[in-house]
């Protein structure tokens, strides 16, 4: 399983890349895509929508499972990867290349509470 060191991770299996301009880019982890199986459908919020930490902001579906995308942080959606919505199967081959939304964070310091790659790997192994 691939877990890049430069990213932060949420217990709900989203990855977060903090950018220098106070925004964050979000996607789902390699572990998450593997658990789901072949992704066939993705539903993302519209630009401008507020993200509330720990609340769902979209869904990702395989044939036999559906999973909420849960916001790891508070903020506002400033960019949405609509191309990914049209071809969500890419998530299975390149989970970290498949960003879903870019969020302008209310408080970038909130990200300190997220897991490091090492912590996330330990978390997934606990099962």
């Amino acid at each position: 399983m691939n877990t890049p060191n430069e990213l932060k991770y949420a217990t709900t299996h989203e990855w977060v890349r903090l950018e220098s301009d106070g925004t964050a880019t979000l996607g789902i982890t390699d572990f998450a895509q593997h658990e789901l199986g072949d992704v066939v459908y993705l539903e993302l919020p519209d630009e401008g929508r507020a993200l509330i930490a720990d609340e769902p902001f979209g869904t990702v579906e395989s044939v036999k499972a559906v999973s909420d995308l849960v916001a790891p942080l508070n903020g506002e959606v400033v960019k949405v990867n609509t191309e990914l919505v049209d071809a969500p199967e890419a998530i299975n081959t390149d989970p970290y290349g498949c960003w879903m939304v870019v969020v302008k964070l209310d408080n970038p310091a909130e990200a300190d509470a997220l897991m490091s790659a090492e912590q996330y790997v330990a978390f997934t192994e606990e099962g």
Partner: protein, 481 residues
């Protein structure tokens, strides 16, 4: 290899059957304005023999109880008596209109009235509505009744429904559809709902609790009376999912366990045919406190012995069906109860539980049993060991069983058992059938894993590309351009 084109591909312009006469009157525009008419009607044009062959061929690729053993857990796939079909097709039942005067349909009303009574007796309940047409609709009816009961007492704040984590997906779905929030109750190490866990979850917001007994693991919830007491003491009501009634019919009654409302699956316990997914029927039985809220009408018997509709319920939750529910299914269930009688109904439970335990002991020689103890009418085995050692999953075992001439068990349910295979043999199978099935399971456990993983090998099609089906959605036939 099997290949049957769609009926649309069999169509040839101008072909038709002789089923209906050709009208002889005036042109249709004499009656209906031309601008209201459709330009074309794109239906197929086929001959009668093509129609018969098409559907007969399709039937030959489908599996049913009539073809073989169907151990699909929680679905109670037992023999569907042919006499049920004969009775339901009698003109006195099939060719009557729901709005004809009660004086002209006394027989139909009598069947409904007596069935209401039989179901109340079987459930240990006081009153019955036959209107819900499926188990899921029965659940919805039951929860609306609970909601109406609380509201009638001005108790509007009760919006939480307790649901065990082993529950069928319809339980949480239904609770949410009637506007209730779900409070999940974990199962304990014995695979049962723990009375202490319930105590920790009830409160002034508790509308009630939904339980299936025996539960989806095939285990009897032996703390049911205490659980009901806790829920009642908190002001909630108990909903009984009747999906597994086959295990206890004539032996124990939901009403005696503390349930206030329950539904029956007539297509399970009372063996009306599943028909590929319906029509079924999901009558609901209640204790007297819920009777004022039942859907209208029910059937009543007057002092002079005549039957009629009883519809005056100002507090009713409303109607759930255009007419009186799935009457044709009710007639079949009535026939079944009259055929079996009291000893026969108890014999259903006895032999269903006997068969399940008999198969369990055999399957346990090769597969893990999720909760290795005496089960009721079904048990849950797991392919977890096989998955670890050979990569063979529950799904693969199921697919391989097809090659042996069986329908697969229910797989991956309940959710709390990994690699679950839920096996329900029912009471109508012979000992030899059960022996052969156990032998097949054992043989699959010893087979080349690659053979199992690529099964089935003898079906009309190989494994189907479900991902492709979801991605490239093709849900209707269209002429090729």
């Amino acid at each position: 290899m099997f290949s049957e084109p769609t009926i649309f591909e069999r169509s040839r312009p101008g072909r038709h059957s002789n089923a209906v006469p050709v009208p002889d009157g005036a042109d249709i525009t004499a009656f209906l304005p031309a601008e209201s008419l459709r330009a074309e009607l794109p239906l197929p044009e086929v001959s009668e023999i093509d129609t018969v062959r098409h559907f007969t061929r399709l039937s030959q690729t489908n599996f049913g109880i009539d073809l073989g053993f169907y151990p699909l857990g929680s679905c109670t796939m037992k023999y569907n008596p042919r006499v049920h079909e004969r009775v339901a097709a009698m003109p006195g039942f099939a060719d009557i209109h729901p709005y004809q005067a009660p004086a002209t349909c006394q027989g139909a009303l009598r069947v409904m009235y007596e069935l209401q009574g039989y179901l109340a007796e079987i459930g240990g309940m006081d009153a019955v509505t036959l209107q819900p047409v499926a188990g899921a609709q029965g659940e919805m009816t039951g929860l609306l009744l609970i909601r109406a009961y609380h509201r009638s007492r001005g108790d509007d704040g009760r919006t939480e429904m307790l649901v065990p984590d082993s529950a069928h997906g319809t339980n949480p779905a239904t609770a949410s559809l009637v506007g209730m929030s779900i409070v999940k109750v974990p199962s304990n190490a014995r695979g049962r709902v723990d009375v202490e866990a319930v105590k920790a979850k009830v409160g002034p917001r508790t509308a009630g609790m939904m339980m299936t007994n025996p539960n989806t693991l095939g285990l009897f919830e032996d703390q049911i009376a205490e659980i009901a007491e806790v829920v009642h003491a908190a002001g909630g009501l108990m909903y009984g999912d009747g999906a597994n009634l086959n295990a206890i019919i004539g032996v124990a009654r939901p009403g005696d366990m503390g349930f206030d409302v329950m539904h029956f699956n007539l297509h399970k316990t009372f063996t009306t045919p599943h028909g590929g997914g319906g029509p079924g029927a999901g009558p609901v039985a209640v204790k007297a406190i819920l009777e004022p809220f039942l859907p209208s009408p029910t059937v009543a018997r007057a002092a002079d012995g005549t039957y009629g509709w009883a519809g005056d319920r100002p507090q009713t939750i409303g109607r759930l069906h255009s007419f009186n529910g799935n009457f044709g299914i009710l007639v079949r269930a009535y026939t079944y109860i009259r055929t079996l009688g009291p000893e026969g109904l108890r014999g259903v439970a006895e032999n269903a539980v006997l068969n399940a335990n008999y198969v369990r002991v055999g399957v346990a020689e090769k597969f893990q049993i999720a909760y290795p103890e005496a089960c009721m009418h079904e048990f849950v085995a797991s392919a977890q060991e096989q998955k670890k050692t050979t990569g063979v999953r529950a799904l693969d075992v199921g697919k391989r069983l097809m090659d042996y001439g069986y329908h697969p068990p229910t797989v991956y349910f309940p959710l709390i058992v990994p690699e679950a295979m839920m096996i329900e043999p029912t009471e109508t199978e012979t000992r030899e059938t059960l022996d052969e099935f156990v032998a097949a399971m054992q043989s699959i456990a010893d087979e080349d894993p690659e053979l199992v993983k690529s099964a089935p090998h003898t079906m009309p099609v190989k494994r189907v590309d479900e991902v492709g089906a979801a991605k490239n959605l093709n849900i209707r036939w269209e002429p090729s351009k």
